[in-house]
């Protein structure tokens, strides 16, 4: 997916396949990790320095655990690639972007035109999140 419109980074993607969280913590030289829904992503925080790619899986698009996992990693200072995989649909990508995801590998293809419209639709947001959108309270008060 490196050249697809679903990657929002300029760096070279990690070329190593992602391993499970347990395997990643065991293998000192691993750089890519896969987080399943239900994994406690806080276990990664002590070793964040060596992580280049985190894949967070969405087994069903209604399962929102991955949004919190993403926020927790970004709040801990993780700057590497954060990829949403699995049942990722166009109507979820905006909130995923706001939670810090910067690449997407959905099971089913996403229509680029619909995605583009979805990402541009909202000019304003109410909260600070993991993106650089400025919340309206800040716009109101300068």
């Amino acid at each position: 997916m490196a050249e697809s419109p679903l990657r929002f980074r300029d760096d070279t993607p990690a070329d190593e396949p992602a391993v499970t969280l347990d395997a990643f913590l065991d293998q000192q030289d691993a750089v890519s990790v896969r987080i399943e829904a239900g994994d406690d992503v806080r276990r990664l925080i002590p070793v964040l320095d060596r992580v280049k790619l985190v894949e967070i899986d969405f087994p069903r698009f209604r399962d929102g655990r991955g949004y919190s996992s993403a926020r927790i990693l970004r709040e801990a200072g993780y700057k590497g690639e954060l990829k949403a995989t699995g049942d990722v649909l166009v109507d979820q990508v905006l909130f995923m972007r706001r939670c810090g995801f910067d690449s997407f590998a959905p099971d089913a293809p996403i229509d680029p035109a619909v995605l583009d419209a979805a990402l541009k639709r909202y000019d304003y947001v109410y909260q600070t999140a993991a993106d650089d959108a400025v919340p309206v309270w800040k716009l109101r008060h300068g």
Partner: protein, 544 residues
């Protein structure tokens, strides 16, 4: 009341555009119903037995006359000329066409209204005390904080695909008129010893098939940190709730499974972290919002006395009026519980009538109560007679606030695809049985709540008398519960024994009231007598 600025308006307008796009993609077959369902639910659009139902948010139950007239217009144009106020202070329309929904949302947006997060696994509309800003016993008007929380929880990117729905209630009085502790997150504005504002926090309440009363988890959260605290609660739940069984995914189940002490510990740990992120809205933003909730320009020197020479008016005054904090003013409760009608239902013409009265007599302010009645919060006592006459002409002057005929009932099997039994006809039969006004007053405060299935939308767990409709071998069967409360003395009603058929349940309710009349001591309500004497005398009368 709060008014949108260009930012609020832009967000709601964008939502209309987004939903129009989603609906078009669904109608064009580019999305499956499975994919569309959570999206339409996030916008309050349910598929019921006969049609789509659209639930429109009324934030913290506050409306102005322009908004009420728009609701009337929508009822006339897109529905069958009426709407239904709900137990969470919203309004819903039961006969909506999917292709009309985007146009309805566009109409709502012109009067600063929306249907955002009124359904689905999202942070729902915040409910609040319907007497906010008027109650004689409140610490401050809770709606400024409710509006701040509304904004903070609108399209929250982390918490839009939650395990289940999430309901917040907020009050600022010792008297609970909002069924506070039956919510996932319950907030009460308090002051600490230094006189600073903050929130007492309860978590893990909810009705449904597994009812829990929310546990106290924090005695005092500084007011300006409340968004951090709410996010901490949501993150703990979102991360750790079960996702394998929709009936076990409400936050109340996690709180119960972890134990409220462990849940609280995890929330506190997460709260300490989230506080460091600086996501709380600044004081200046609270003050900007609070300015919209400044008290209206109450007149001074108004007369306190009310001319009670018309006996029908006097009866209405004695029941439907509550004390106001400003001298010379009163809070008017407008009953939507006409005997023989459907509780919470209101015609477009009645909506217009209430809008006119609010504009003329109540500083353009209307409230919705969780008991599915309306409130005109700021009426001069000298205007009460005129207001009563106008309400009477509109069929809205019933005298039954908190009485046996002021029944909460879910839509039930007449509308709802989840229901096992009808609720509305049971409420109507009970109301007809107790229709005599003198008998209602004799029985005093008595809250009957009826649900047509175990999802408990009719609050049967919180009824002084609760009724639960179930399906028993293909016939509707009604269980009787006693002793619940949704007020500050919150309690969970208990099933008395075997269920009844449609007529039997009405008889059982009447027998329970007979026991009360026989056993009560001076000043006791039905609930007080039940608590004092216990269930046995009631069982004896009902089943003996």
């Amino acid at each position: 009341m709060y008014r949108y600025d260009k930012y609020d308006q832009a967000v709601v307008d964008a939502r209309v555009d987004e939903f129009r796009d989603q609906t078009a993609r669904r109608l064009a077959g580019q999305m499956t119903e499975d994919q569309f369902k959570p999206l339409r639910l996030k916008n309050g659009l349910y598929l019921q037995l006969h049609a789509y139902m659209l639930r429109v948010a009324i934030p913290y139950g506050t409306l102005n006359s322009t908004q009420m007239r728009k609701l009337a217009h929508i009822a006339r144009t897109y529905d069958r000329g009426y709407g239904h106020f709900t137990t969470r202070q919203n309004i819903q329309y039961h006969w909506i066409k999917l292709q009309d929904a985007p146009d309805i949302l566009a109409e709502l947006a012109t009067v600063e209204m929306h249907a955002i997060q009124t359904s689905g696994e999202s942070i729902r509309n915040i409910s609040a005390d319907q007497y906010a800003g008027a109650a004689a016993d409140e610490i401050e008007d809770p709606r400024a904080w409710a509006e701040l929380i509304r904004q903070a929880t609108t399209f929250h990117p982390e918490f839009s695909y939650l395990p289940r729905k999430f309901k917040i209630a907020l009050i600022a009085s010792p008297t609970d008129r909002a069924a506070l502790r039956w919510h996932d997150l319950a907030l009460r504005i308090v002051r600490n010893e230094a006189g600073e504002p903050g929130f007492e926090v309860f978590a893990g309440g909810g009705m449904g098939r597994t009812p829990f009363i929310a546990y106290p988890i924090r005695a005092f959260c500084p007011a300006e940190q409340i968004f951090s605290y709410i996010q901490a609660v949501l993150r703990v739940w979102n991360s750790h709730a079960r996702r394998d069984n929709i009936h076990k995914q409400r936050m109340k189940i996690l709180v119960h499974d972890l134990g409220h002490e462990e849940f609280t510990r995890q929330v506190e740990e997460t709260f300490a972290h989230i506080l460091t992120l600086g996501t709380d809205f600044p004081r200046a933003e609270y003050e900007r919002i609070a300015a919209y909730f400044a008290p209206p320009p109450f007149e001074t020197g108004l007369p306190e006395e009310i001319d009670r020479s018309d006996p029908d008016f006097a009866l209405w005054v004695d029941r439907q009026i509550a004390p106001h904090k400003a001298p010379g003013y009163a809070i008017v409760n407008v009953s939507l519980k006409r005997i023989g009608g459907i509780g919470g239902d209101i015609t477009a013409e009645q909506m217009d009538a209430v809008a006119d009265l609010a504009e003329r007599y109540s500083f353009d302010d209307i409230r919705v109560s969780h008991a599915q009645n309306l409130v005109l919060p700021h009426v001069r006592k000298q205007d009460l007679y005129a207001v009563w006459q106008a309400l009477d002409a509109a069929g809205l002057a019933d005298v039954n606030l908190d009485l046996v005929t002021d029944i909460i009932a879910c839509p039930g099997l007449d509308y709802c695809s989840l229901a096992n039994a009808r609720s509305i006809p049971i409420a109507q039969k009970i109301a007809q049985r107790f229709a005599d006004p003198a008998r209602q007053l004799e029985l005093g405060e008595l809250k009957i709540k009826i649900s047509g299935c175990i999802n408990a939308c009719g609050h049967h767990h919180a009824g002084h008398i609760g009724i639960l409709g179930v399906d028993r071998k293909g016939t509707e069967n009604y269980q009787l519960l006693l002793g619940g409360s949704g007020a500050e003395d919150t309690s969970l009603a208990k099933i008395t024994g075997p269920g009844f058929d449609e007529n039997g349940i009405v008889d059982a309710v009447e027998k329970a009231t007979d026991v009360y009349l026989r056993e009560r001591t001076e000043g006791e309500r039905f609930l007080d007598t039940y608590r004092r004497i216990g269930v046995e005398p009631f069982k004896e009368a009902i089943y003996g």
